[in-house]
Chain length 292, copies 2
């Protein structure tokens, strides 16, 4: 079966698993928890350094906390590797620790195991009084993103063309924790872009029971992507390329300020469409499917 | 490198990772968090059902919470599998959910991924005002265990002799959460027996800077083990066979009550030894090493 089909069945059985992270009311606040599994075959191209592997493994989980506007409390990391080579383990640890520090949190522990395939599972937990959910978008709200789109696609291009140093730099994306704090006070709905902008727009639209129209010319394309690809390729990568881990959110016009990111469109009654110079076209619900 | 060597280096770098779970002060209590990676080759013999795989994956993490006397708040489960066969995924989910219910907690979410080798990473988190640590044992205290020893060795024997139903039953051990609550109020030090009684005694002794003398005839041997092995083999399995996940703890004589488990020895100044009919012998610091 496809992961997405199985996930649908699981979500029907475990209440509350439709958002970026699990939410648990605790002592006048909410604990927020998320776990992510990454592994060699699907997540780390040839040329990825151990340090980058550690960084990225932690960053994907912290990104889920950012998407709910949560403050991180700590990270656990389980690491399986065929060799348990000291240099590799220490590199992973160094990257994981550095990413935690960037996000103002700490690596608190983990597990280590001999494993056929390099595998990392990071668990991040944090707290937030009022978590931002995937539903809550109101017709008339602005649709916005943090940072730039296409960073991971640019990294993959660099890995493929053996620009390993550049690729590793791009792959170590900063989790948008501080941005998440700010947005927690004002966003009406939020998600992190793990499976591409188009897929994330559809997920937000379904959860909020609204639609979106997005302006193609407004999309903030990552400069490294512009350097390597044509503008049509850039647009495709920004819309359908996955794992950018920027925040996609909706916000009322009155509350938006330019330091909160880039306005890319607005909330409408239904449908997800892209406005281009040639007119308005439906935006397909397709994107990046992990590990398939 | 061996896992134990790498873990020593990591522990030196990440403060506070010497105990069963990470501890984080939060809102007048402590959050307690732990993650465990299990996989096909080293943890699930031929004949293990998906339901047992799900149960056991969750139970090992809950056991770490029990060892600190914590009340569980929830569990996350990351599951990687080569086929993502629906029957297998649903079986794992059923087992994981059932184990959570046994411990009075819930499966809150997780991750799902296509993976070369069946791999499960469970993360359990809970809270406790005063966590029981591995240090704190006082000379003169009693040394005790919950339940019986050798359950997992009996299960492995059943798997090897194709008594699959019996093996699966034994493999689904109950995490000692309720026992952990009770002991949190009275135990002076505690650990769960994940790598065998002998190894766990040495870990407690090192952490508390004390020694232990254990009475061979006092060890509570699991009835299923007695059914299959000679008494010498039983003693060896109880001492050095791993993954029983009973709680090993120390407690003052005055506070011990028979419903808290079985007294197996007492705390002395130094050394870990076994008292048998033939006299007192040093107990080797050897045990079960996971995944090697």
């Amino acid at each position: 079966m496809r992961e997405s089909e199985i996930l649908q069945i699981i979500r029907a059985r475990i209440p509350g698993t439709g958002d970026d992270a699990a939410i648990l009311p605790f002592r006048n606040t909410h604990l927020v928890l998320t776990t992510d599994m990454l592994h060699r075959t699907s997540d780390f191209p040839e040329g990825t350094t151990p340090k980058t592997i550690g960084w990225r493994s932690v960053a994907v989980s912290l990104s889920d906390l950012a998407a709910m506007g949560a403050r991180p409390l700590g990270v656990l990391l389980a690491f399986g590797d065929p060799s348990l080579d000291e240099r590799c383990v220490m590199g992973v640890l160094e990257g994981a620790t550095a990413c935690c520090e960037t996000a103002g949190t700490r690596l608190l522990g983990g597990d280590l195991d001999r494993h056929q395939e390099l595998t990392l599972v990071s668990t991040a937990f944090g707290h937030v009084r009022n978590p931002v959910l995937r539903y809550g978008a109101q017709v008339g709200d602005l649709v916005c993103v943090t940072g730039e789109l296409g960073r991971t696609q640019a990294a993959l291009h660099c890995f493929a063309t053996e620009l390993a140093e550049c690729a590793n730099d791009l792959f170590c994306f900063p989790p948008r924790i501080a941005w998440g704090y700010q947005l927690a006070k004002v966003a009406t709905s939020m998600i992190d872009i793990s499976d591409g902008l188009a897929r994330s727009l559809h997920l937000l639209a379904q959860a909020s029971n609204v639609g979106f129209v997005v302006e193609a010319s407004a999309l903030p394309i990552h400069p490294s992507l512009l350097k390597h690809l044509t503008s049509d390729e850039c647009l495709d990568a920004a819309l359908f390329g996955g794992e950018d881990y920027e925040l996609l959110y909706t916000i009322s016009k009155e509350r938006f300020r330019t330091e909160l990111g880039t306005v890319i469109g607005r909330v409408i009654n239904s449908g997800v469409s892209l406005h281009t110079a040639g007119g308005e076209i439906p935006l397909a619900n397709r994107g990046w499917e992990h590990g398939t």
